[in-house]
């Protein structure tokens, strides 16, 4: 009964005063918002929390989103927003920060509207113009308390750019547009700009054309230079600058003027008392975008909106007055700096293509002073946050950069590739590298596990050792760059990787490898190499390490300065440096990068110069499979099915002879284990070998080691003979063989890493490398060394010297126990039953090393054999 009454009552009220339509609601809240400015003409310094502005904005947002639920057509509130350029007004207020906090509220409002709306609003002239101005306000170089909101706003734009594929289409199409613009932009007059940036009210009724992007619009989000006549740059709204209204022709003169202005303004505070009339005029002429509503709306807008037009006019006056009243020298100087940058951008953009190519070779870092160089406004803004002290902010900026860089759009990728993004990213790497304290222990580097993202352990405030944070910060950034080079569009990735090679690896690291802290640097390089996944960056790093040339070096004439340096470092006095460098070589081999392996080893072996053909012809001394097969062929029992899938070079049928060569190399009296148990190494190598075979399958290595054309006489192929005579295993293998000979005098640590390194080389499924390292049976070119020859000589030397030591057998046993039980820690003279000098100990340790190394080689040979049968 009562409820019935209520309904009746409500109906009666509805007839007398119908409920407000959403549009009425909308305009009400908008007017209320405007009222603040009318009522606070002189004191707009109230904090925004104490005003009703956030509340009204929330209502506006709610109404806009609710209206979307009613259908696909744009509703009246959205139309109102677009027609009256509400967002432009908000952007103006945000840039003026009136009242304080307005910028934060506006960023948040715009972000929510853009991400929640189901319409791709970004294409709207009335919206993206404001968005551009908001982007320009986000600058990480200026410490800002609202960084977080700024970065979220930017990220949301990245998201939108990706979400609506036609944005990328527009970017695609605009390659023509951009070129046309390049040629025509001088003649673009105001009406032409109006035509593309303003949508007449009548057309807005038609949803389809409205929400189809207009070609030239979204591109300007990426490419603000498109309309780079001074007239149409929206930045000038907040910079109150007369010169911007001047013609294009005078642009080059503008720069000094700005400087002048900046100086005079900052010098005389009386500037702040410039008449508001003056300021207003300047502002109007410099911001056609903001001006448009005043020009256009009265002609095109339905009557009902007239009140609001007045309101917005009022607002303009207000905001201008606010701007002028807020006008202080510091802000002016900042604005001028901003303008300066933009102008420089314009000036330099013409010669961009040429200078970019040059800059590849000649990268200078003047850019750190003037980073905004790209044509992508959004990217520029994101870049400004990468040095933020706040990890989260920085990582968010990195996320944004990654998203933009990985957009699958050749035109956009070209813009990014041509920008200074890679230079800036590489510069930060250098800065972080230089911050690493020199006293960090190289041994601490290995265990650092960081990633660039928010999940990185660096964010957990651990302090594992002094300097950890800085080392971790460096590797975090390195990880980001590596992932970026992996994920980015290939054009971007390549430029990025090259820039890092040139401006960091070559410019900074090469020198550092021969400097005072080479041990730490080597450890850092090793860690970088290990952490960088296969990507353009890992390829460039490989090129840095072994040089770009793929032809073999001539003995003693080394082309690659880095490899040269590394090999020299292996012959220094410092045991630690030798160990670290051997570890780096190990990482290089483990990388299984085709270029690295080729330049380091394979290019020297591929001619098979170590193989003595003349001896092979006699075939008496030879027991290789090759000979066996030849014999078989002669006998006529051809077995074609066999040997097609696996290599006879890698799996010789004489495996037992080969194993014996290694296992019986060391004389019995020097052996510390009676049974030559090489089986215990097999498990590990087997696992590793099956992975390696998979990894190396793509390298297209030959299956068999063959000398080019066996039957050809030596006169017809003189170059092969020459090759053989001049056989040079290359600087790296030569170094390894030298080091093998040096085993008796080298520290245990060095010998350990040396033998590991060679074992890992021997494990590679490459026929020539296999022959050279693992097949003692091949006929060797006279006077040339193979691994086995070196080991033989070494053993001979040991067999001569070791028996001179008293009780050597017992000491050997004792040493073995120590080494295998890993109790070197309690190495004190008390524990030693038998006295020995330091040299003797080193010598005896080397015996055990050689013994175990021979077993390892036997195990590897067997594993390779076993794998292919």
């Amino acid at each position: 009964m009562i409820s019935g009454l209520q309904i009746a009552l409500k109906n009666a009220i509805d007839v007398i005063a119908p409920p407000a339509t959403p549009l009425q609601d909308f305009t009400y809240h908008w007017k209320q918002l405007m009222n603040f400015y009318v009522n606070h003409l002189n004191d707009a310094k109230v904090s925004i929390e104490r005003t009703s502005i956030p509340k009204h904005l929330d209502h506006l947002l709610r109404l806009l989103l609710e209206e979307e639920k009613n259908g696909d057509e744009p509703g009246p509130c959205l139309e109102y927003t677009l027609q009256h350029r509400l967002l432009d007004l908000l952007a103006t207020l945000a840039s003026a920060e009136t009242p304080p906090g307005m910028r934060l509220v506006c960023l948040s409002f715009l972000r929510k509207l853009l991400t929640k709306s189901k319409h791709p609003l970004l294409h709207q002239a009335a919206i993206y113009g404001s968005v551009q101005r908001m982007i320009a306000m986000c600058n990480g170089n200026l410490a800002s308390p609202i960084e977080n909101e700024e970065i979220q706003f930017l990220l949301c734009l990245c998201f939108l750019v990706c979400k609506y594929p036609h944005v990328t289409n527009i970017v695609n199409d605009s390659s023509n547009v951009a070129q046309d613009g390049e040629a025509l932009h001088c003649s673009i007059d105001k009406s032409a700009i109006d035509k593309v940036t303003y949508i007449p009210a009548r057309r807005m009724k038609n949803a389809n054309t409205l929400f189809k992007p207009l070609n030239t619009q979204a591109i300007t989000l990426m490419n603000p230079d498109l309309f780079k006549t001074g007239k149409h740059r929206p930045y000038h709204v907040d910079s109150v600058n007369k010169s911007s209204s001047q013609s294009e022709a005078s642009q080059e003169n503008k720069q000094p003027k700005h400087v002048q202005n900046a100086i005079t303004r900052s010098n005389s505070s009386s500037q702040s008392s410039r008449s508001s009339r003056d300021v207003e005029a300047a502002s109007e002429s410099s911001s056609p975008v903001a001006q448009q509503p005043i020009d256009n709306i009265p002609n095109r807008v339905p009557e009902e909106a007239e009140d609001d037009t007045r309101a917005s006019e009022n607002l303009y006056k207000v905001s201008k007055e606010v701007e002028s009243s807020k006008y202080d020298p510091v802000v002016a100087a900042l604005n001028d700096i901003k303008d300066l940058r933009i102008n420089e951008e314009c000036l330099s953009s013409n010669g961009d293509e040429k200078s970019d190519q040059n800059s590849k070779h000649d990268i200078t870092f003047s850019s750190s002073r003037n980073p905004e160089h790209s044509k992508c406004l959004l990217l520029d803004s994101l870049k400004s946050y990468i040095n933020s002290a706040d990890n989260t902010i920085r990582i968010r900026a990195c996320e944004g950069i990654m998203v933009l860089a990985s957009l699958d759009d050749p035109f956009f990728a070209e813009i990014i590739a041509k920008s200074d993004l890679s230079t800036i990213l590489a510069k930060r790497l250098e800065v972080l590298f230089n911050l690493i304290p020199a006293q960090v222990e190289s041994s601490d580097i290995e265990d650092i596990e960081v990633t660039w993202g928010l999940d990185s352990p660096l964010l957990i405030n651990e302090k594992k050792f002094p300097g950890y944070q800085r080392v971790a910060a460096f590797f975090m950034w390195m990880d980001f760059l590596a992932q970026l080079s992996r994920e980015a569009h290939s054009d971007v990735a390549e430029i990025l990787a090259q820039t890092i090679r040139i401006s960091f690896f070559e410019k900074v690291l090469t020198h550092a490898l021969s400097a005072h802290h080479a041990i730490l640097i080597t450890a850092l390089v090793t860690k970088c190499l290990k952490n960088i996944p296969t990507s353009p960056l890992s390829i460039e790093m490989g090129r840095w390490l072994v040089g770009q040339q793929r032809v073999p070096d001539i003995p003693d004439v080394w082309c690659c300065p880095v490899l040269h340096r590394l090999i020299e470092n292996c012959f220094t006095e410092s045991d630690d440096l030798i160990t670290e460098t051997l570890k780096l070589f190990e990482a290089m081999i483990e990388k299984r990068d085709e270029h690295i392996l080729h330049c380091l080893v394979l290019t020297y072996l591929n001619t098979r110069g170590y193989y003595d053909n003349s001896a092979a012809d006699s075939a008496i001394a030879s027991w290789s499979d090759e000979e066996d097969e030849r014999v078989r062929e002669k006998k006529g029992c051809m077995d074609i099915t066999e040997g097609t899938s696996h290599s006879r070079t890698l799996a010789p049928s004489n495996i037992h002879r080969i194993l014996n060569c290694f296992l019986s190399l060391l004389p019995r009296q020097l052996q510390t284990e009676s049974d030559s148990n090489y089986g215990r190494y097999m498990g590990n190598w087997e696992k590793e070998y099956s992975i390696i075979v998979k990894n190396c399958a793509l390298l297209a290595w030959p299956l068999e080691a063959v000398t080019l054309d066996d039957s050809a006489s030596s006169d017809s192929r003189p170059e092969i003979d020459n090759c053989a005579n001049r056989f040079y295993p290359g600087p790296f293998l030569s170094m390894l063989l030298d080091k093998i000979s040096g085993i008796p005098k080298q520290k245990y640590e060095i010998n350990l890493h040396l033998t590991i390194l060679i074992s890992k080389l021997a494990l590679l499924p490459h026929p020539y490398l296999h022959e050279f390292l693992l097949n003692p049976l091949i006929p060797l070119t006279p006077g040339k060394k193979s691994l086995f020859i070196c080991l033989q000589r070494l053993v001979k030397q040991l067999a001569n010297e070791v028996p001179k030591i008293q009780n050597y057998k017992l000491i050997l046993k004792e040493l073995r126990l120590e080494m295998f039980n890993d109790c070197c820690a309690q190495e004190s003279s008390d524990n030693k039953t038998y006295s020995r000098s330091k040299e003797e100990e080193t010598l005896l340790e080397s015996v055990i090393i050689v013994e175990e190394f021979c077993k390892e080689l036997a195990a590897i040979a067997y594993v390779k054999y076993h794998h292919s049968t």
Partner: protein
């Protein structure tokens, strides 16, 4: 609050399947019908108990948007568990599972436990993917399967906890090298009473959270 282990999880799947809602339900025990799009990566954490041991789950909620995959791929590294989510009311989210799985397998460590989740089981009337299909897919690819509802909280706890149990078993079997942090498992600080990282306790949203959420 100390923990015995910390497991790193990642939640993946198409946009709009309810990844963020699952996380919110698990960490905060509440449901937000209109959840904002995840932009970038967000974070949540909760403590659970398995076998009498405190285990902290550190969960990374990723954006399902194709464009954000480049970022997501960085987060696969060092994850011990993954929840691969699809929406039972949208067939296409089920159809995309293979690409997600490929991505996950390629960029994570081979021992990562992957749990397949058909979300929105409360919307049975609008179901487009049969339960059996999910089961079959899981069987074929060696995944654990479950249907959940972030709205009613059905199976949400179980999904997260069963994944943790599976990881825990793998640790017991010695499959995971717990000393290698790259496996997404960390042994808790034995003495320190505070949790590193300023990451809040059970149910708390961490400090790292905040991208795109409003």
């Amino acid at each position: 609050m100390s923990y015995a282990y910390l497991f790193k999880y990642i939640i993946i799947g198409d946009t709009g399947v309810g990844k963020s809602c699952l996380l919110l339900q698990f960490t905060d025990k509440r449901f937000q019908p209109v959840h904002d799009l995840t932009i970038g990566v967000e974070f949540g954490a909760r403590m659970i108990t398995i076998d009498g041991k405190q285990i902290k789950l550190q969960i990374w909620d990723t954006a399902g948007q194709e464009a954000f995959r480049s970022i997501t791929r960085s987060y696969y590294r060092g994850a011990a568990g993954a929840l691969l989510v699809y929406d039972i009311t949208r067939r296409e989210t089920f159809n995309h599972l293979t690409t997600w799985l490929e991505d996950a397998r390629q960029h994570s460590n081979s021992n990562m436990v992957i749990m397949l989740i058909g979300n929105k089981s409360d919307l049975d009337a609008r179901r487009e993917v049969k339960r059996e299909e999910g089961e079959a897919f899981a069987r074929e690819h060696g995944l654990v399967f479950m249907e959940t509802s972030a709205k009613t909280a059905a199976n949400v706890e179980e999904a997260f906890i069963n994944t943790a149990k599976e990881i825990y078993e793998k640790i017991q079997e010695g499959v995971f090298d717990i000393n290698n942090e790259a496996n997404g498992i960390k042994i808790g600080p034995s003495h320190s009473p505070t949790i590193p990282g300023g990451i809040s306790g059970p149910g708390g949203q961490g400090s790292a959270q905040g991208g795109g959420c409003c």
